[in-house]
Amino acid sequence: MRQDRLIFEHGRPGRRAAAQAPATAVQTGELPADMLRQQPPRLPEVSELQAVRHYTRLSQKNFSIDTQFYPLGSCTMKYNPRASNSLAMLPGFLQRHPWAPDGQSQGFLACVHELQGMLRDVTGLAAFSLTPMAGAQGEFAGVAMIRAYHRARGDGERTEILVPDAAHGTNPATAVMCGFSVRELPTDADGDVDMQALREALGPKTAGIMLTNPSTLGVFERRIREMADLVHEAGGLLYYDGANLNAILGKSRPGDMGFDVIHINLHKTFSTPHGGGGPGAGAIGAGERLQGFLPIPMAAREGSRYRWLTEDDRPQSIGRLSAFMGNAGVILRAYVYARMLGAEGMVRVAEFATLNANYLMSRLRAEGFQVWFPQRRASHEFIISLKRESRELGVGAMDFAKRLLDYGYHAPTAYFPLLVPECLLIEPTETETREELDGFIDAMVAIRQEARRDPELVQGAPHGLPVRRLDEVRAARDLDLCWAPDAAGAT
């Protein structure tokens, strides 16, 4: 296959997609000459067909849910309903200006308000704001609310956030962005938080704890109520990282576990697309104590009318996280999905995500792979370690991951959580068929056989993709972050 050139390299001076800009040349009106740009920016000069062809071809170089099984742990790569896409892109939603008067926004406001309510009911919190634009921003909002809460009570000594060592990197990073220091909690042999360590860590400096449950180790934190009591007794608050909510949706409610504030990755559990890296939405919910601090705007209903809540309505709010209403289009997609699931659907998501994960885990174990917590149930995901394969065959988690690509499967999350050596974190999600899981198992077994017979084959994978294994060290050392005509060379 021809290596696809950069869009810039398809260009020729003076070429353009002429239908897309005003037909008449530029008049700079009253703009003074010294304000004007002298050199035009270096942008592609291509025809419409060239652009369409280039980006269509580029797209074909991606793995995606729409083309491959994508069991990426902690990422909940489930089917993104096509209806969510087309309905969120109806003209009335796409053309609405974020500052349009409430009278011209009732359709959108109704969706926001109803989704707030559904998330509240399914998680057991008291109120929701949908404005955070991703999980990490939801975390930010939650921890900022914890800070604001302590401050509002004049409790300025609480400077520490506790975070389990298995936590996602956004958790500690968020705590620091909110002005806290981070104290890590170790994990016990069963994958739960070490209770002794927790007890020791708690104290007058404790602002709160960030947890996800089931944890990123793929197991349910069984003593969560006990932990909640301990933290609350110490004067701290509990933050729930809802990235793993798919595992328990409708089955168990973070509010009932004792969490005070929670975010939900709508782009995971509520199946809005990941879009190759975003956008997401990190809806944030709070219990009684924290709900006054939720970020604005939020939607409220008064009689049959909806309106936005602002600073005046919510004086304790931590404020705004985006110029407008967060990722409105993502919220609409999540709303569509939530309505299509309905009451029973929400429960089934967790049931079948869990069924798929436990099936995959059982079968991989039966095939001789090392499941990391064999004594535990998998939640919606689980971990295997390729330590043995790495030691005995010289073929580790990364090699399995890359070779899976050749088999037409996206790799699971590799080397996360950091505490499990040579690990793969595998999350099949509920929308995959049993046959797809069986195919994945067959591929894992086949790769192990290849690794015994011909380790270099696996170490050199992938072989059938648009590129072979990429030199990441060089990428970070000889930084090439921006195309320049000279650097392009012959094409």
Partner: protein
């Protein structure tokens, strides 16, 4: 069971393979008291047909048509190709390109995006996006604090002509990290920073300069930049990226250029869509790249020496550096960047220039036409890009409401940020606005003003 493919046979056989009798047993590690019983009544499941009809009815209630509101989000023509391509499953339903070999489409596209943004801003490096312009400004400030190692005060000076909501959001983002935001005052009459009355500054990490500013006015960016640099402060330019096709870009401000450029990418191919998803762009000098938040794509080679693309400098990011990361950002606005990249490829420099110039022209025509009405006059003198504040001679809020009920989205009321400007409205006309639209606005406004008088 929408979206769940399991047949009865599948369920039975899979449970047997696991060795449990039923689905519920899979949840037996959850303590009984935490097993949700009956949830509060959620609405029943809707078939796709039913939700489609519901959403169509709702969408039909919301604003469409020509829009004279700007204030941070702008109605522009987006080529049909843009979102038809961006919503292709391979872009739409892919994850972050962590497995580079299986994500060359997205990765090459982001590399192209970074290159385009560098071109548009005349800067050396760009990241792969932040959430939006306002929160991105907060990240830019934190980056400035990290980068300006000589000044540890945490003080950042913000031109009062910056969009007030941007300042609010930035405050939320940086407020817990010892950063203080201070005001660089505005000249009320002209609507810009008066460069003849710049205060002496000292011990300031960075100065934030908008271009065009909240009122659509153009700031004297060269003098402001040089003044800030002279005091050892970094310069953060907050710009409308479309305007940069026509106006001098941050990298060319003053003697040395701005240090950081940020803003909202919405004007580049992103529909208004109720305020999001848009994306925040962030560019800086190459020397600062390791202080930058967010993902960055680099070009490298594969085992065979062929070029390829990968995420790079990940050691800055939360999944590696954890509590010492440059930011907590993980998911960004990838799909919107995908669309925006295609948009820029289709428009090119000349196309964007023409759009920007047409916006400017149409706004001039709009202002001129509206100011023919008695009592309506520009709030500020001097040059604007594609927005201008008008004084209506009476409270703007009710006027805008009455215009809306006539189907005219007339602008943004300035009184909500400054009670002294209760009579003022910020109007905007883009290339989408026709002469007929302007006449319709004028006629409606004439009626409304007459009724009120």
């Amino acid at each position: 069971m929408p979206f769940i493919p399991h047949t009865e046979d599948d369920i039975r056989e899979m449970l047997a393979a696991i060795g449990v009798p039923d689905l519920d047993t899979l949840f037996d590690e959850i303590p009984a008291e935490l097993r949700a019983g009956r949830l509060p009544p959620l609405p029943p499941a809707l078939q796709e047909m039913d939700i489609s009809r519901l959403m169509q009815e709702r969408a039909a209630r919301d604003q469409t048509g020509p829009c004279f509101i700007g204030a941070g989000a702008y109605q522009h023509h987006v080529p049909a190709a843009v979102w038809q391509l961006a919503t292709r499953g391979e872009f739409y339903s892919a994850y972050t390109p962590y497995q580079a070999e299986a994500s060359q489409g997205t990765l090459q596209l982001i590399y192209e995006y970074q290159s385009m943004m560098c071109g548009l801003m005349a800067m050396e490096v760009s990241n792969a996006s932040l959430y939006d312009g306002a929160s991105g400004l907060g990240e830019a400030m934190l980056m400035a604090v990290r980068a300006n190692q000589k000044i540890r005060s945490g003080r950042i000076l913000i031109a009062d002509s910056l969009h007030p909501v941007y300042r609010q959001v930035a405050q939320t983002v940086v407020g817990n990290q010892g950063v203080t935001l201070e005001s660089l005052p505005l000249d009320a009459a002209s609507g810009v920073i008066d460069t003849d009355a710049l205060p002496p500054i000292d011990d300031v990490v960075a100065v934030v300069i908008p271009q065009p500013n909240f009122f659509g006015r153009l700031e004297a960016v060269d003098r402001l930049t040089d003044w800030a640099h002279a005091a050892g402060a970094l310069v953060i330019g907050v710009v409308n990226p479309l305007a940069m096709a026509l106006l001098r870009p941050p990298g060319e401000w003053g003697e040395r250029g701005a240090d950081i450029a940020c803003g909202d990418g919405q004007p580049l191919g992103v529909p208004l869509s109720s305020g999001g998803p848009y994306y925040g762009f962030l560019c800086c000098r190459r020397s600062m790249v390791r202080r930058m938040p967010g993902r960055i794509v680099g070009r490298t080679v594969d085992l065979d020496g062929n070029p390829g693309y990968t995420l790079t400098l990940q050691a800055r990011e939360q999944h590696i550096r954890r509590s010492r990361a440059t930011s907590n950002i993980c998911t960004n606005q990838g799909l919107v960047v995908t669309a925006s990249t295609i948009h820029m490829a289709l428009l090119g420099a000349e196309g964007l220039r023409r759009v920007a110039a047409r916006c400017h022209e149409q706004t001039r025509a709009l202002v001129q036409t509206l100011c023919e009405l008695p009592g309506v006059r520009p709030l500020h003198q001097g040059v604007c890009f594609h927005e201008r504040a008008l004084d209506l001679g009476q409270p703007a809020g009710p006027v805008l409401e009455r215009l809306a009920s006539r189907g005219v989205m007339g602008g943004y009321p300035l009184g909500q940020h400054d009670p002294a400007q209760a009579n003022a409205v910020l109007v905007c006309a883009t290339e989408c606005i026709t002469e007929a639209d302007i006449r319709a606005y004028r006629d409606a406004l004439a009626d409304v003003l007459r009724e009120a008088a």
